[in-house]
Symmetry: C2
Subunit: 161 residues, 2 copies
DNA sequence: TCCATTTATATTACATGTTATATAATTGTG
DNA sequence: CACAATTATATAACATGTAATATAAATGGA
C-alpha cells in the first residue's frame, strides 16, 4: 500500500483532495439512489430541487442556483427535458430567455425523492459528518476514513431502521 | 441574485458542494501557478510529487498515491511523458509493470516548484483555511465566502511580501 | 508442464466540468 | 430611430474523471 500523497501534502493539495472527497460522496450517494430506484444522476437533482424550491427559472438562474457555468446548465436542462423531467417555454417579454419548469413527471419525482430518498441521504451524510468538529484537514481525514470504513449506502441502510 | 441551492441543502448536497469548492480551489491554484510560470496543470503535480517523495513508482502505485483510478493514471503518465517530465521503463522482473520516474526536466521542475511555487500555494490556502474550526458546513461556507472575497492568487501575492 | 486464473496496463466509451465563441434578442444612446 | 453594446442561450473544443473491457504477462495447481 502506497502513501496517499494528496493527503500527506496538507493545504497544498486541498483542492484536489476536496474534489476527490466530493466525487466519492457523490458516487456513494448515487448508489443509495440506485438502490432506491431513483432514475437520475446525483448531479441532476439540484436542478429539480432548485425549481421546486424557487419556482420556474431561466437557464442562467439555474446555473447560478446550482453553481455550474451557463453552458453546463444549458446541457443539463436539455438532458432533463429529453428525459421528460423538465419543460421549457420561451419567455413572453424577452425572447432570449427560456423559462424552465418541472414537468408533471418531474414534480412526481421530486415529491417521491423528498419523501423517500433525500431524507435517507441526508441521514447517511449526517451519520458520517454530523458530529465532526475541529480543523478542516482533520475533518477531511475523518470523512475519508469514515467512507472507507462504511460507505454512505451502508450508513443509509443502518439509519433507515 | 438567485439562492444557491447546493449551499442551502446542507448535508444532502455535500458531495456536489465539496466537489465544487475543490474545483474552485484548483482553478485558483492554477492561476497562481500560471502567474509564476509553472508549465503544468494543477492536477498533474501530485504525480511528480509522489515520485519525488516515494521514488520511482509503477502506474498502479501512482494511481494509489494520487487517488485516481488506474486508467486515469495511465493517461496522465502518458501525457507527462509526452511533455518530457516523466520517463518510463519496463520492469526487469515483471514485464507487465512500467516503472515511472522523473526525467531530468521533471526533477528540475519539482525542485523549482518546491522552492518557489508550492510554499506560496500552501501559504495562500493556509491564509484561507488555516484558522478555521467548528462544524464542517460552517467551514465550507467560510471557504466559499473567503474565496469570493479574495481569490487564492490575491492571497498568494499578499502572503509573499 | 500445461492451462486456467490472476494481475498490470491500455483502450474505449461515456459523464460532466470548463473556456471561448457564435447567435439572436434587447437596450441604450447619439 | 438606427445601430453599437449588452445580454441570454447555444455550440464547439477540450480537460479530466469514471466503469467496463481488452491484452499481455505472471502464477499456481492438477
Amino acid at each position: 500500500m502506497v502513501e496517499d500523497v494528496v493527503r500527506s501534502f496538507g493545504f497544498l493539495t486541498l483542492g484536489t483532495r476536496m474534489k476527490r472527497v466530493g466525487e466519492k460522496l457523490q458516487a456513494d450517494t448515487q448508489r443509495i439512489m440506485d438502490e432506491l430506484g431513483a432514475p437520475l444522476q446525483a448531479g441532476q437533482y439540484p436542478f429539480l430541487a432548485a425549481i421546486d424550491r424557487l419556482g420556474p427559472l431561466t437557464v442562467g438562474e439555474l446555473a447560478e442556483a446550482t453553481g455550474v457555468t451557463q453552458p453546463g446548465a444549458t446541457r443539463t436542462v436539455a438532458l432533463l427535458v429529453e428525459l421528460g423531467m423538465l419543460d421549457t417555454e420561451q419567455s413572453a417579454d424577452d425572447q432570449r430567455r427560456r423559462i424552465v419548469s418541472l414537468s408533471r413527471e418531474g414534480k412526481r419525482l421530486v415529491a417521491t425523492a423528498k419523501r423517500d430518498v433525500w431524507p435517507r441521504i441526508d441521514a447517511a451524510v449526517t451519520d458520517l459528518c454530523g458530529d465532526l468538529d475541529g480543523p478542516l484537514l482533520e475533518q477531511l481525514a475523518a470523512i475519508e476514513d469514515g467512507l472507507a470504513a462504511a460507505p454512505l449506502n451502508r450508513r443509509a441502510a443502518k439509519v433507515k431502521s
